[in-house]
Symmetry: C3
Subunit: 407 residues, 3 copies
Amino acid sequence: MPSTYLSFRCSVLWLILSLEAVFIVCSYFLFSDRHILSYSDRTITYLAWQDVSHMLIFGFGFFLMFLKRYSFSSVGFNLLIIVLGVQCSLLMQNVSVFLKEGKLKGSLESLIEAAMSMVAVIISIGAVLGKTNPMQSIVMTIVEIIVFCMSRWINTYILEVSNHVSMMHVHLFGAYFGLAVSSRFSEPSPRAEKNASTPKSDLLSMLGTLFLWVFWPSFNSALIVEKHKVIFNTCLALAVSAVTAFALSGLITKDGKFRMTHIHSAALAGGVTVGYAAESIEYPWIAMILGLLASVMSILGSLCLQSCLHPTLKIHDASGVHFTFGLPAVFGALAQVLLCVIETKSLSFDCEVILNIGAICFTISVALITGLITGLILNLKLLKPIPVSKYFEDQMYWEFPHLAVGF
Amino acid sequence: MPSTYLSFRCSVLWLILSLEAVFIVCSYFLFSDRHILSYSDRTITYLAWQDVSHMLIFGFGFFLMFLKRYSFSSVGFNLLIIVLGVQCSLLMQNVSVFLKEGKLKGSLESLIEAAMSMVAVIISIGAVLGKTNPMQSIVMTIVEIIVFCMSRWINTYILEVSNHVSMMHVHLFGAYFGLAVSSRFSEPSPRAEKNASTPKSDLLSMLGTLFLWVFWPSFNSALIVEKHKVIFNTCLALAVSAVTAFALSGLITKDGKFRMTHIHSAALAGGVTVGYAAESIEYPWIAMILGLLASVMSILGSLCLQSCLHPTLKIHDASGVHFTFGLPAVFGALAQVLLCVIETKSLSFDCEVILNIGAICFTISVALITGLITGLILNLKLLKPIPVSKYFEDQMYWEFPHLAVGF
Amino acid sequence: MPSTYLSFRCSVLWLILSLEAVFIVCSYFLFSDRHILSYSDRTITYLAWQDVSHMLIFGFGFFLMFLKRYSFSSVGFNLLIIVLGVQCSLLMQNVSVFLKEGKLKGSLESLIEAAMSMVAVIISIGAVLGKTNPMQSIVMTIVEIIVFCMSRWINTYILEVSNHVSMMHVHLFGAYFGLAVSSRFSEPSPRAEKNASTPKSDLLSMLGTLFLWVFWPSFNSALIVEKHKVIFNTCLALAVSAVTAFALSGLITKDGKFRMTHIHSAALAGGVTVGYAAESIEYPWIAMILGLLASVMSILGSLCLQSCLHPTLKIHDASGVHFTFGLPAVFGALAQVLLCVIETKSLSFDCEVILNIGAICFTISVALITGLITGLILNLKLLKPIPVSKYFEDQMYWEFPHLAVGF
């Protein structure tokens, strides 16, 4: 048994290496003509890239660090998945743009879009945090990023959704893909001692949340030319949703105490929601109300989903991605359509509105269907799914030379 | 008793929600005309906003995290206070500019000023860290930010102090307001076991200090157009004050060991001091000398104040805001006036100098008087001040689901 | 004995203060004419400065924090050394430019170069981490930064290496200087209980690695005008080297588990290697292959060096700077020469190539020779080297008032 397991482990490592070889060979063929690579030199592009990469590496790395025995894996595998996924996403990105337009985008611009697409994968990974082995995570990453890029391509070029809005669907896609995958994994026992946080891990997770919170305006404005309005609206929405998170967290817990996980989820909900419409919001108070409603939805969602919906559907949502990213994203996407209708003052639903709603439904359906299929694939014997008793544990994947000394 | 306490807790939550409602309604009326909102699109504004928000959220959040049982509250309530205060400050800001000039500033610019004003509140909160309940913190935040905005308005428009210098008074105001409030709170017993740090909390606090230290040049240059000179001078002052902090810390402790809290305070003192005059310093060595003197003042201040002044006045300064921000700010403000006099080479004190000194005195007096009044209000029975034995403790405000499992 | 030790400690503090006085006096004479100070106001300069300072303060501060009883010193002395060294480096920088060109560079530009030069010192400090007292660290800092600035001056002005490449030699110089110094210190016993990490310290070190990793593209592009290409190439190289780090780490440990220190070293190796040639790499796949080879070299290097080379040479490399920075830098420097040859398609080695190879050899030899001499000086009785039993310990330098309460 150990020897077969060891050989399985080695196969993970060879998988990683061969994936990397494939990426290098692909980029050899794709970027072979130096004339199609354009390097614009705008400072703002560089800034957007930096902020997005900080969000991915620090923000999500630490956001997912709340499990008490899974901190190495949270940070480490987050890095592994991002660096693998970004390369795959960059190739997909460039292939799709090349097919359509015959030339490549500026390199750093396409790197930004590749990195933003990876948010879908990280959200999905969050939904099954602690339940997948590295092999499963890598397969899931590659499948999801390819499907997301194709779904976004259809949204942008066929349903003619704007580039920014089609990128914002990343939250929708990530959350529902993750939930669908999660439904195929066995549920941990509710009293699992390892499925818990410590004050220290909660603090590190709070550090991650603050990183995400602070960089969210950059994320929402990364693909937009006139950034300042988007940034202003996102900041207000985030502020209001953080305030509301505190108030509601106290109201729904007994004793009126605050719960850290509520703050984590609800403070970010405003940013997710306002992302869709930020460009078209004319008055700050609209952004503030969106932030407030997103936060309410996220906290009530966490209450209802955990007590009603999930026990019925047997879906265990490890880091609450449904109410942190899923619900606020649905709400934000609908709000954007509504604001669009109000602004054009047309009573009749016109073509653009229908296409936008179509894109939302399309994204969710693709996410659910491919998520289910991916979930089934991941639980094949071939990929050696880990038993429930070994969930939420670092020690299978990392060397701890210090353990001998006393932890 | 528990039931009245629970109902009190709920009243905090309703206070938060109704404050938020007030802010939304106010911004509905204030920002109702889209033509008065201008969105400049300068990258540099966005950068300044980001740096200031990083300072507030990470820097101060972690800087105040040195108490061993108060880390959740330090980070959490810091976020709550900032998001509430920034909205209030933004409204005050825009009302005051609107009253004077009939139009609003660019939105992100006013957000930067709103966020910078919040530094006053966070410094004051630092002075009573661990002694206030959320209700008291919120009342204090709202009162202080309103008073500070009014005091700054008088400084800018009546005493005709430059916009930058009047914003730098934020340190002065925050420190003396905090001290005055603190004087109305009972002192913890000097041997209070909870009023202590652990190496871990000291490290997190050091992380916060480093954040503040690194972003201080951005803070000092946020309102200035020609930033590079200010940044260069602030960097040099910070470097010299950090060096001096190490040397003096070793000299005044027995055994010649370094004390972390000395480094925290004195390394920042140079940045506070040089903030006032950074624009008018012609030679780098002046900035370096200011940094050195600020650090000396901060460390000697910590020695004298803790051993002589505070026992007499019965003021317990929880995070040493007096010698970290107060004294260096007084020194910096005076140095700026002096440099101004030297540069104009006029022997007679001219009008500008008198107005500048007047602004310093005015700011300190307003801070002390309103601080005292606020301190009295906060200790009304109505706000249920917490007993001394419950100081410096998280557990009253936060759920710790993991406590059952073993901390 | 304690009293002589105390007086020795005081002499450290007076050394710091007098160094600071020297720096202030020097900058008084150097920057006395305000007309030679130019302040350009390009946003991009400010950004580059910020990113480099973040790398130094956070990145290296936390990267070096893996020792379980040395976290205060890692962060604290890192700050002390940087603030001292940057001032010295800034003076050296300006003197050398002034001697050659008769005027000073823009101030922030020279600050960036000064800060980047400090990377050499921090790498060397990493090689003897935990073995030097503050006096030794300070002497080493001052000697190394002066030698490095002189070596860079010769590289730039005599060997006519480009400014960017001569700065990239910082890794080479730092690693080999550190190794040479380290060879003069006694080796700790291999079972030293304090020479170990805990999961917590490993996580903090990972945080530092991530900081370095994320800011590495800024470091590589700081001195280059057309940044976007360099950033793009560095990002790809870093991504590939992180992927390879995971795969190889699993392959060379027994059980196929990942080792955190492998990830730390190898993920950065790609950035070090690609730094030299980033500007002249035309196709992304070249950067990717460089990243892959750098990572392979770093991990195999760690395996070979620790098991073969170091036991022979009796060099204990505390944080593995040889295979993290040294080997990848040698490889990167050679790769840059090779790419240069290929591009010019000249079969005969021309003058530029010879000068570049000369610069590499010159830098390494200067580093080794001056490092050996510095190592001998540091072990003079005068500087009171600490005994092997006191290695890797904070408690000699820092007050821990909380120890009484229970750690």
